[in-house]
């Protein structure tokens, strides 16, 4: 009895193995698997007949049958893998260098992109990001900033003046600096804030001059603020903006609303300071104006200059965008030409 069943098992396994080696498609393999190992398959059927054996033979036969069954199942899996690999090794039907399918893509204005980066950098350092009016009073744009009536910056050729009633005087703000005093008035001191925004100069436009451009103003007022802090914050800001350590220098410069006043230059990133056409052979690129807030400006903002000191800076960002992307003409920024914007 056992011998019959054993022989049958042997024969079935042998047949299954030989069939396995001759199947050539995944479908044939599946059919074979069902026929041999399936719920109604040959091996399963034989195991069901185990009850016909005498009790002492059931154990050994069952173990042998299960061993064969799992060995066969493994062989089927191996064969499946072989067949699948063979089918996949066929004709190439994908080219990874063909561009993918993307949703319609919009474009960020390159100047506003830098504006937002700068906002993020200063937010991360705990600065408020404020807004101010673009039409400004003569008081905030000039007088409160210690720019007296005869200062060259107030000449007709630099400033856009507005038609107003005779007793008031409005200008298109020539810089974001009026917000130094407005911010101190609104929030008091200590304060740390940046003010991004549009400014205006009555200048004929050409490849490097625009009548309107963007600046970011910065202001820190507190007890004990010094030039060392100005250097520290500017270094942190520029390092983040350029994504690497930049060498900067503070060069004395006169602005009426700071004392001492500086221009901050950074070492030319093209020639590493050796001198090239980008930096006009000087090795340095003028980056921004800054300085220690003038005591009269602190007073105008309601802060006591004996108790508080501060620093301020103003950076023009159109030029930064031009440098970053090597843009040859500043007028592209306001021309609305999609061939320009599609590149960003």
């Amino acid at each position: 009895m056992t011998d019959d069943l054993n022989r049958e098992l042997e024969r079935a396994v042998e047949q299954a193995r030989s069939a396995l080696s001759s199947v050539s498609t995944l479908d044939e393999l599946e059919a074979l698997e069902t026929r041999v190992l399936g719920r109604k398959g040959e091996l399963t059927g034989m195991l069901r007949r185990i009850g016909t054996l005498p009790p002492e033979q059931r154990g050994p036969f069952g173990q042998a049958a299960n061993r064969e069954k799992s060995a066969l199942a493994e062989a089927v899996e191996a064969r499946r893998e072989e067949l699948r690999n063979a089918s996949l090794a066929g004709v190439r039907d994908f080219d990874p260098t063909t561009p993918g399918i993307r949703p319609a893509r919009g474009h960020q204005h390159p100047v506003l992109a830098i504006r937002r980066e700068i906002e993020e950098i200063f937010l991360s350092m705990g600065f408020l990001v404020l807004d101010g009016p673009e039409v400004e009073t003569e008081h905030y744009n000039f007088e409160a900033l210690n720019i007296p009536g005869h200062h060259p910056a107030r000449d007709m050729q630099d400033t856009f003046w507005l038609e107003t009633a005779p007793d008031v005087s409005f200008v298109m703000r020539t810089h974001t600096s009026p917000m130094q005093v407005r911010a101190m008035e609104r929030f008091g001191v200590p304060i740390r804030a940046v003010v991004p925004g549009r400014v205006y100069r009555n200048e004929t436009c050409d490849a490097t001059h625009e009548a309107t451009f963007h600046q970011v103003e910065g202001l820190v007022v507190d007890r004990g603020i010094s030039v060392a802090h100005l250097k520290g914050v500017m270094g942190a800001f520029l390092g983040r903006l350029f994504g690497r350590e930049v060498t900067v220098r503070l060069r004395p410069h006169y602005f009426p609303f700071v004392e001492p006043g500086f221009e901050l230059d950074f070492q030319c990133v093209h020639c590493e300071g050796a001198g090239c056409s980008v930096c006009k052979r000087s090795g340095w690129i003028e980056m921004l104006g800054c300085g220690m807030v003038h005591p009269r400006v602190l007073e105008a903002g309601g802060a006591d200059p004996e108790e508080f000191t501060g620093f301020a800076f103003g950076v023009g960002i159109d030029r930064l965008a031009m440098m970053r992307h090597v843009i040859e003409d500043i007028r592209h920024f306001h021309a609305g030409d999609l061939r320009f914007f599609e590149q960003f």
Partner: protein
């Protein structure tokens, strides 16, 4: 402004420091140096030559063909265009390979078919003077072939000062000031320019009357005789030309020399031309005119200060001399004017005349009034040195009383240290200030500082100005950077900036719009093309760049239309948006205008798609929904009525947008009239929102419903209805008709072929549900019946 290092050497011994080192130190501690240039050095390739022959050029009448001995075996053939070249002259020859100032390289060339092996040089080509009409003829007897620089050149290095970096420093408009700065930086001795101390203030042959004392505070007149129309010595002419001034005559060159040296402009008159024995400093008369030294006749602005003799104006004070009273070749009697003019007034006159001069650049900076007398004494000393035959009258005329009052400022070393963030003691500060010309006395913990008059006119007037002096000379590079310790508190963007960012991100990243910027000054034509020429009161510029662009925008639409037009011809699908301020005058004229931040968007397509497939107008409405989602607010759109419709809006395909009960924007298709005017085919739709108003409305929190336990029944229903029956009316109607209607969704909208004008077909997806069980088919059919009945009631015709 150019500063000569050899000239600086008159006042300070700079030793072996290189020009680049000096330029760097000045840049970091005094004023920006823009360039370092060599002058008067020509190299071995510029040599003394002798013209052996001068022949006509065979192919050009005005050119000469010269044969020139340059001390080599074979004489050189050189083509020369100068009219004054002749055989026998000793000249300077730039051989092939020479590099002349301005990086001008001499190469072998062919001129009109004839080879030329070099160039015979003019003064200007060697930057020895301005004369470029002819070649420079040298004295005979020079060694032919010798390098020219050994014969005539005096090598010098000049530094170009960025004038903008010294606008606040009247003391730095001459060599003496820079020498003082360098002496301070390097701790060297400084010697001021020598003056003639023997001269006395007194009378003279001409009477000086200051009639406009508010415009002229001091006036000095020096009298001298000599050959003033002659040449100044070579070294002096060379210094002037190295610094960019053209040598002219002895008197003019000396006057210019004094200006470049100590910063005080003076003006030489030919005494013969001054009539009536008097110099009057007065305001210009009504309609008064003068021919200035440049030969131009100018009418004087009424408040200009002029120098006049007994009869007429002979100079515009502080700016330019008159042509008739200038130095001529035969001038022997000189009146030298040195004065202090009111800086704001001379500046105003210069602006009115449209004329800027070296003298004006200095007077407008507010010079020390005492410098006027010093210039007269310096001129006299120089004249005696360079022209021993000349005589100077022992007395000069001095008029006017203006003086710079001494200024005393207290410097607290502790504040100086705190503000600079650097450890300096009172001794360091005293040393720096003293070297710069300040007088310093210690008074307890403080320093009592007296500001010298040449720094007190405009520049230094309080403690922080002194801190700047100390910091600058100590060197900002020496200050160790540190980050401030600040209180910690929440920071944020202005709400409207946050809204701009969110809306912009949605438009750019989800909808493919490009962000643009336009001018806030709107051109009248641009406004007219948008139909917005009479769009209400606008702020206006008093001095616009163009007369037609004086209005400040009240809307972003005009330039959006222009930008669409700029692109629509080359781009199939134009999507643009701008966020920017618009400007509306305040009710109260004394207040600043209102400046809300607007968002404007344009969607244009060159080809019209049938409606219902999502023409640009409906897709722009989708953009509107995205924007409101992004800024977290809700809105309602209503068909625009005649009274609030802007001229650019299509009469029926436009809408107003409101939020929080206020109108906050509008959108719509561009009126065909405007599209025709631009010559557009296809469709353009615009959207304009007032972001400032939108962020002021309550933020929208998305409502939440607990997750349903039982399935819903979903059914589509289609019907035709007039456009007048709004989608909103339908949704509200259906929702009230069936309590089990959970949600209505637009599946499709169609208009056009097969439907009458003004009608559309809508397909809605309806979702019915109750909370506690699954609806039976009969129940759903019953609800659907209610819905269909309501559609018919509203004027719709249910299909199928």
């Amino acid at each position: 402004m150019w500063i000569s290092l050899s000239w600086l050497g008159d006042f300070v011994d700079l030793g072996s420091r290189t020009p680049e080192e000096i330029a760097d130190d000045l840049t970091m501690k005094t004023a920006l140096i823009e360039a370092v240039e060599r002058r008067g050095a020509f190299g071995e390739e510029v040599v003394v030559g002798k013209v052996l022959e001068r022949n006509r050029h065979p192919n050009a009448d005005r050119l000469n063909l010269c044969v020139v001995d340059v001390g080599e075996g074979e004489p050189l053939q050189i083509v020369c265009g100068a009219p004054n070249v002749d055989a026998g002259q000793t000249v300077a020859v730039a051989k092939v390979g020479a590099v002349l100032p301005g990086d001008f390289k001499i190469k072998k060339s062919k001129i009109r078919g004839v080879a030329s092996h070099g160039m015979i040089c003019s003064e200007s080509e060697l930057r020895l003077g301005e004369d470029h009409d002819g070649i420079m003829v040298l004295e005979d007897g020079l060694e032919v072939g010798a390098p020219f620089e050994r014969v005539r050149g005096v090598a010098d290095v000049v530094l170009e000062i960025d004038n903008k970096s010294v606008t606040h420093r009247p003391d730095l408009w001459g060599h003496e000031g820079f020498a003082r700065a360098l002496a301070t930086i390097y701790g060297l001795d400084f010697a001021a320019a020598p003056v003639d101390a023997s001269l006395r203030a007194g009378g003279g042959p001409i009477d000086v009357r200051i009639e406009a004392s508010e415009l002229c505070g001091r006036y000095h007149a020096l009298f001298a005789t000599g050959a003033f129309g002659g040449r100044a010595p070579g070294w002096l002419r060379r210094r002037l030309s190295h610094c960019g001034l053209r040598p002219i005559s002895l008197a003019v060159d000396l006057s210019n020399y004094v200006m470049l040296e100590i910063g005080q402009p003076t003006h030489p008159f030919d005494a013969r031309t001054l009539r009536g024995g008097v110099i009057r400093i007065r305001r210009a008369g009504e309609g008064e005119r003068i021919v200035t030294l440049d030969g131009e006749e100018r009418s004087l602005p009424p408040d200009a200060c002029v120098i006049a003799d007994g009869e007429r104006a002979v100079a515009v004070a502080g700016i330019v001399g008159g042509a008739e009273s200038g130095i001529e070749a035969d001038t022997t009697d000189l009146v030298l004017e040195s004065a202090w003019f009111e800086p704001i007034a001379v500046r105003r006159t210069s602006t009115a005349l449209g004329l800027r001069t070296d003298a004006l650049a200095r007077f407008e900076k507010h010079l020390d009034p005492d410098l006027s007398e010093r210039a007269v004494r310096r001129f006299a000393a120089l004249l005696r040195e360079v022209a021993p035959d000349a005589t100077v009258a022992p007395e000069f005329v001095a008029a006017g009383e203006t003086r710079q009052a001494p200024r005393n400022v207290v410097l607290r070393p502790a504040r100086c240290r705190a503000k600079l963030g650097v450890d300096l003691d009172a001794g360091d500060m005293t040393r720096i200030l003293t070297a710069l010309g300040f007088s310093v006395a210690e008074a307890g913990d403080e320093l009592a500082v007296e500001v010298p008059p040449f720094r007190a006119t405009r520049d230094v007037d309080d403690e922080d100005d002194l801190i700047e002096e100390v910091g600058r000379i100590h060197g900002y590079a020496a200050i160790e950077p540190s980050l401030p310790e600040v209180a910690c508190g929440p920071v944020e963007l202005e709400p409207v900036t946050t809204a701009w960012r969110a809306a912009g991100r949605a438009l750019r990243e989800r909808l493919g719009f490009a962000e643009v910027l336009s001018y806030p000054f709107v051109d009248d034509d641009v406004l007219a093309r948008a139909g917005l020429a009479d769009d209400g009161p606008a702020m206006e510029l008093r001095n616009p760049l163009q007369a037609t662009a004086r209005r400040l925008r009240r809307s972003l639409v005009p330039y959006l239309l222009e930008f669409v037009d700029r692109n629509v011809k080359s781009v199939e699908d134009v999507r643009l948006f701008e966020c920017g301020r618009v400007f509306r005058p305040s009710e109260d004229a004394a207040s600043l205008p209102v400046e809300p931040l607007h968002l404007g968007a344009a969607w244009g397509e060159r080809t019209t798609r049938p409606d219902g497939s999502g023409g640009v107008l409906r897709r722009l409405r989708g953009a509107l929904e995205e924007v409101f989602d992004a800024v977290g607010r809700t809105f309602e759109a209503r068909a625009v009525d005649e009274s609030s419709r802007a001229a650019w809006m299509h009469p029926t395909r436009s809408a107003t947008v409101s939020a929080g009960g206020e109108e906050v924007g509008r959108f719509g298709q561009v009126h065909p009239r405007i599209a025709d005017r631009f010559g557009w085919r296809g469709e353009v739709a615009l959207l304009e929102l007032d972001l400032s108003a939108i962020v002021a409305t309550p933020a929208h929190v998305r409502p939440y419903a607990p997750l349903a336990r039982h399935p819903a029944a979903t059914v589509d229903v289609s019907f035709v209805a007039p456009y007048d029956v709004s989608y909103r009316t339908v949704v509200e109607g259906l929702t009230s008709a069936s309590k089990r209607l959970e949600r209505v969704e637009l599946v499709d909208e169609y208009a056009g072929e097969g439907l009458e004008a003004g009608a559309r077909s809508l397909t809605l997806g309806l979702r019915f549900r109750v909370a506690d069980r699954t609806l039976t088919d009969e129940e759903v059919t019953k609800e659907l019946g209610r819905v269909r009945a309501r559609i018919e009631e509203l004027g719709g015709r249910v299909r199928g």
